[in-house]
């Protein structure tokens, strides 16, 4: 009978990734009956994933889950190992030797492409880059966004697309006291953008954006939202879909759109136009983005399963900057099976599989498990489910040479990796808050890894 999970033989689990799904997995493991010690690996010195670098700066309430993660991090059963890239500084094989199980919670770090001509023209960007940039993610610190054009286009109709539109619509004053980074605020405050066009492939009954985000587009200081009332005419299948119980959220969004469509004519400096049933088919321009060709769509199919079909009718929209926001996508992990079609790690109930076979000891949670869907809380339910599978497997999980975190740390040190502990992160955190105070912001984030490490060096 295995004594794994007892005081004498605690189970040791590595979690790769420190976003919501990783922390909820840590929480579920720590709260479980067996004794589990959790080591959380994160490639940045800073934890918290998209709650830190995805949630918009003007949505501070949605960052509150960080308080929960801070409590989890304070558990004696938890250890944070930041500034370590699994797959570069340490391999999955080496982790397998040190831990009874590995839970991959590394999210979806890249983005889906449109796959159209001109997609890589200067001026064509992704929401992933833009959001990362204004939120101070070190990967995007040096990206350049030319906002000197009058017209911006955002492709997509989810909440990330709405975030991009809203941030582009806001004045410097509206952003000045948020935790948006200084370098982004500087660029946005001098933006010449007048018209923002959010282009969605399907109709108002199918769009994924939610009503509270839409409502915010009507509450901006110097931007009017615009919806063509004609776009709100629904085909019978869409009307039936909206009446269905499962579409309660879509119905609320539709009602907000109706409100927008019946607003008085726009008077403010900026306008945010919400388009439906259009898809970009080509980005055009001489050496840089100048126009986007949009195909008009119509909907076909059963209620709740309507798909967009091209009508053949094309219009062109002049624009100088474009952001595609059609979904994040997972990145393959060396040594772990990958489903390229879906951009996830293949799994059943959170157990990673290779074809039909379960790979012992490897688990997945969050967006790398189920794809880039849902909001912060959905990851909690997901992680609870993955941990349930892991705990079921506990009796048969073994480790190679039982080395644990101390030997691991020595190994990393010998490779010149400066491991950032949770206490180190707390120093960085305090410094960010202090820097923000002088500017009247909740914090001024360090947007470069070197800056964070230099701070720690200075304290040593």
């Amino acid at each position: 009978m295995s004594d794994l999970g007892t005081e004498k033989n605690p189970a040791r689990v590595a979690i790769v990734g420190s976003g919501p799904s990783g922390f909820y997995a840590a929480e579920a493991l720590i709260r479980s009956e067996p004794l589990v010690l959790v080591d959380m690996f994160e490639r940045l010195p800073s934890p918290f994933g998209l709650v830190r670098s995805g949630v918009a700066p003007d949505h501070p309430k949605l960052k509150e889950p960080i308080r929960v993660y801070q409590r989890i991090a304070e558990s004696p059963q938890f250890q944070f190992l930041g500034n370590i890239t699994v797959g570069r500084d340490i391999s999955v094989e080496e982790l397998k030797d040190c831990y009874h199980a590995i839970v991959f919670a590394c999210g979806a770090e890249t983005d889906r492409k449109l796959g159209i001509a001109g997609e890589s023209l200067p001026g064509s960007h992704t929401a992933t880059e833009f959001v990362g940039w204004y939120n101070g993610h070190p990967d995007y610190r040096d990206h350049v966004f030319d906002l000197s054009h009058e017209t911006a286009v955002v492709i997509g109709q989810g909440n990330v697309a709405v975030d991009v539109c809203r941030i582009l619509s806001k004045t410097g004053d509206e952003l000045r006291h948020t935790d948006i980074t200084e370098h982004a605020l500087e660029v946005l405050a001098h933006s010449k953008i007048r018209d923002i066009h959010m282009i969605g492939r399907r109709g108002p009954a199918q769009a994924k954006f939610t009503h509270s985000e839409l409502r915010e587009l009507g509450e901006l200081a110097d931007c009017d939202p615009i919806v063509d009332p004609g776009d709100l005419e629904l085909n019978p299948a869409s009307r039936e879909a909206l009446a269905d119980r499962s579409s309660r959220a879509n119905l609320k969004s539709y009602e907000v759109l109706q409100g927008i469509a019946s607003r008085p004519p726009p008077t403010r400096r900026r306008r945010c136009h919400i388009h439906f049933l259009k898809s970009p088919i080509e980005l055009k321009g001489e050496g840089r983005l100048e126009r986007v060709a949009l195909m008009k769509n119509r909907l076909e199919g059963e209620p709740l399963r309507q798909v967009a079909r091209e009508t053949g009718e094309v219009e062109e929209l002049a624009c100088g900057v474009l952001f595609r926001s059609i979904g994040y996508r997972g990145v393959p992990i060396a040594g772990v099976p990958f489903d390229d079609a879906r951009g996830i790690v293949p799994n059943r109930d959170g157990r990673i599989v290779d074809g039909a076979d379960v790979v012992p000891g490897l688990y997945a949670t969050g967006w790398i498990k189920r794809g880039p869907t849902g909001i912060i809380g959905n990851n909690r339910a997901d992680s609870v489910a993955t941990v349930k599978s892991l705990l079921e497997d506990l009796p048969v999980l073994g480790a190679g040479e039982e080395r644990g975190a101390d030997t691991l740390k020595a190994l990393l040190k010998s490779r010149g990796v400066r491991v950032v502990s949770y206490a180190d992160w707390q120093e960085i955190d305090a410094a960010e808050v202090q820097r923000g105070e002088t500017a009247g912001k909740p914090r001024e984030k360090f947007a470069r890894v070197e800056e964070m490490l230099r701070l720690l060096e200075g304290l040593e």
Partner: protein, 100 residues
Amino acid sequence: MTTIVTDNCQRCRFTDCVLVCPVACFHADDEMLYIDPEVCIDCSACIPTCPVEAIYEDPIPEDKQRWIEINEERAPGLPVIQDKEDPYPGAEERQKDLGF
């Protein structure tokens, strides 16, 4: 902004909602759950999970507005619930009676 649990939860108490709450703001007595408005971040993850549509967000319909104060008063004094529990005895019957 407000998110509240209302009367359909009484004597159903399915607790599906607690699994998706990112901030552990649900509190429970024997009969039903309540949301602590001081902790809730109005993320609306819980709303679609309830089999009897007991959770409401802004704008709160007039006939449910009395529940705003009930959630505010009762939640803080009750224990937090983070794990799914078995429903109240007879919950499935009540679910049918409520039209779900």
